[in-house]
Subunit: 415 residues, 2 copies
């Protein structure tokens, strides 16, 4: 992608109406645009990161056997009335709207109800189970406050996976597999070391749910980590019983601020009973399906990567989720010979890599500062000085380390 | 994908609450689920088709230089008030909702306003132009009636492309390139012969807009085709002046029902003036940007393919958008030897193709009828009778023609 063809600009100054570091940096670098508090549009760089994260998650969901579907944002109240969650006093972050005939509709805040209702048309026998369904779909949540940038959206893309099992044992087995898949996802996006499986409230049906909490001062949660065990406990459930359950001494716990980047819930029959999602077992006995739900907010995960990995120069993307593999920065000379060679190099590199090419007529300082701000992992700087020796400079964004590489070795060096 | 692992079922009977052929077939075949009139969830088969169409469109948009972005569904009224389109009496299909503090928000029916407003932060000089931005994003339209299945949704995925040019000439050049890209898209999804570039009303700013109309009795539009010229005129603009413009005699026109599968509009400065999307030209003169917008409703396109290409046995997908390349249908014997060989064949085929594998314990008649209903282009039937000769039956869904193919030649035959 040629920067000269992009209208989107970087900014030197922080936007005035943002307090969160992720939103400040992402807006300054031209990754997102704020439509209103908690509502962000994704510009080309930002969408690329979002899609890369999405694809890392999708692979793991497919490996679990998850069936990708796509439910709707507009929701009928019928299913929600059956579970008692339609009323705004029960679910306090509904957005609602109306059809022309005044029928009230909900905007999807989650999809347990419509998915369970939908499956009543399909699930009949124990032979249909177990299975799991997932989607990447927009969620709407009418948050009273939304000051954390893309960490807490009023509208955001969520991966939500739902599992349907015949019994607790089958459910627990799948639940543990999801836990492993989540560990793998957070590791792949570069947050492995900072992310802890955290015991949290299980709600009305299960003793615990599990959160995946990533350490950062930008977080809104407080967790207590046992480094020895490599697990954490959410402040909301920290008590002697929990400590005994987990075999942890209070003295070994360290308090940290964190962001919940994922959560997994055992739902038992909370939804299947009221919605009558029933199957017949081997003895033709009617039983409610055992459910689980498993969420990851994709922009929240992206925002957490920004909070954890950025530095004072700007964004620092791990290669796995970077908008581009290589940032080719051309320092043009007056004679035009650099341009000729950098255009040629761009064409060559695009065969093997996703390349952002700074082919703008701009000052060297501006170009290098923008490259730092945008945060592509590897920068290739091409200018007349090094070209005289047939070389370009290769800079690692994270460490800042640079080296001169001969043009003929560049592609193998970048691999 | 193994059908034994899928909970989703086909149905023999049409759903009672659908009048449109596309919805009847897609629901019966397990591609979509109706949440309410005009609001459909996409199940795994259906989502696969939608994604294939999306990717065909995406390639063409990228070839035009379109910059993929993703704007939000929740929209602030400010920009809409500037263009005078916030009021429900002006735009009659708004869905609106509210923040906790009673601020009214709109649900995206289109994105000219927010995109133009967003770009005011970025576009400054003639050097920033021309460019184009596109997205695949949900549109919400509060249709009074929605009886055409996925042809007219209250919520649907739309590809919307917007162009930004310095002058009419630059705009017209891009507009013509989009026209060609659209012709290519409709050809690639299998509707080329039935789809006509159609002259339609240009609204307040341009003399004409162009629609892409596909002939089908399911259509809500009436168009007049000149087969000689290969173009059509929408009934709404058919008059002597238009005929003279296009050099067409009224006598050569044939009336047909059709679906509008795409449309392209010249917007001139309709949005850039009120929203002050201004650039400075070479002489530092401030000028409003010249815009165009170009839409394709992805589910509508999918529904049109269903309306045009299906037969009395069910869906018939062109290979380019089919949910799978190959439908492997195993007719199991009691001894289990077919299962062993079909499992092996499934593994082999998945290396080269997207395969749907009917490994269910079900009757032969049910399996073959389901395969016809689902409509994968190529069916491979494996049973003990042909296996005795080392062969399988390969059936073309569209023509019904079948032939026996030796197992060792199967993969090369299917390519």
């Amino acid at each position: 992608m040629k920067q000269s063809k992009l209208p989107f600009k970087t900014r030197k100054e922080d936007p005035k109406d943002e307090v969160s570091q992720n939103a400040k940096l992402l807006i300054r670098a031209g990754f997102v645009h704020k439509e209103m508090a908690g509502v962000y549009s994704f510009l080309p760089y930002g969408l690329r990161v979002l899609k890369k994260i999405e694809n890392i998650i999708r692979k793991e969901m497919n490996a679990l056997g998850g069936l990708e579907s796509h439910l709707t944002s507009l929701q009928d109240k019928t299913a929600w009335e059956k579970t008692g969650r339609w009323d705004d006093s029960v679910v306090d972050n509904w957005f609602k709207t109306k059809l022309k005939n005044d029928t009230e509709l909900g905007l999807a805040s989650t999809h347990e109800e419509p998915l369970s209702a939908l499956l009543c048309d399909h699930v009949r026998s124990y032979k249909d189970l177990p299975f799991s369904v997932y989607q990447f779909q927009t969620k709407f949540r009418n948050e009273a406050r939304a000051k954390s940038g893309i960490l807490r959206g009023r509208e955001f893309l969520m991966k939500d996976l739902y599992s349907f099992s015949r019994n607790e044992e089958e459910h627990n087995e799948f639940y543990e597999r999801v836990k492993k898949a989540y560990v793998s996802i957070f590791s792949k996006v570069g947050l492995g070391e900072k992310t802890f499986v955290t015991f949290a409230s299980g709600g009305s049906f299960a003793k615990y749910s599990h959160e995946f909490q990533t350490l950062t001062d930008a977080g809104e949660d407080l967790i207590y980590i046992s480094k020895k065990k490599g697990i954490a406990i959410n402040k909301e459930v920290l008590n002697d019983e929990v400590l005994a359950d987990l075999g942890i001494e209070r003295s070994e716990l360290v308090e940290e601020k964190s962001v919940e980047v994922g959560n997994i819930f055992s739902l038992k029959t909370k939804f299947s009973e009221p919605l009558e999602l029933i199957y017949k077992d081997e003895e033709d006995k009617a039983l409610p399906v055992i459910m689980g739900s498993y969420g990851i907010g994709v922009p929240r995960l992206m925002g957490t990567i920004v909070e954890v990995l950025s530095d004072d120069k700007g964004l620092v993307w791990p290669a796995s989720v970077a908008p581009f593999d290589v940032h080719l920065v051309a320092l043009f000379d007056k004679e035009g010979s650099v341009k000729e060679q950098s255009d040629k190099l761009y064409e060559e590199l695009t065969d093997s890599f996703d390349v952002l090419y700074d082919d703008r007529e701009a000052q060297v300082g501006t170009k290098l500062a923008d490259a730092d701000l945008i945060g592509v992992p590897t920068r290739v700087v091409i200018g007349s000085k090094t070209l005289a020796e047939g070389k370009v400079e290769v800079v690692d964004r994270k460490t800042g380390q640079s080296k001169l590489v001969a043009l003929e070795n560049l592609i193998s060096e970048l691999r």
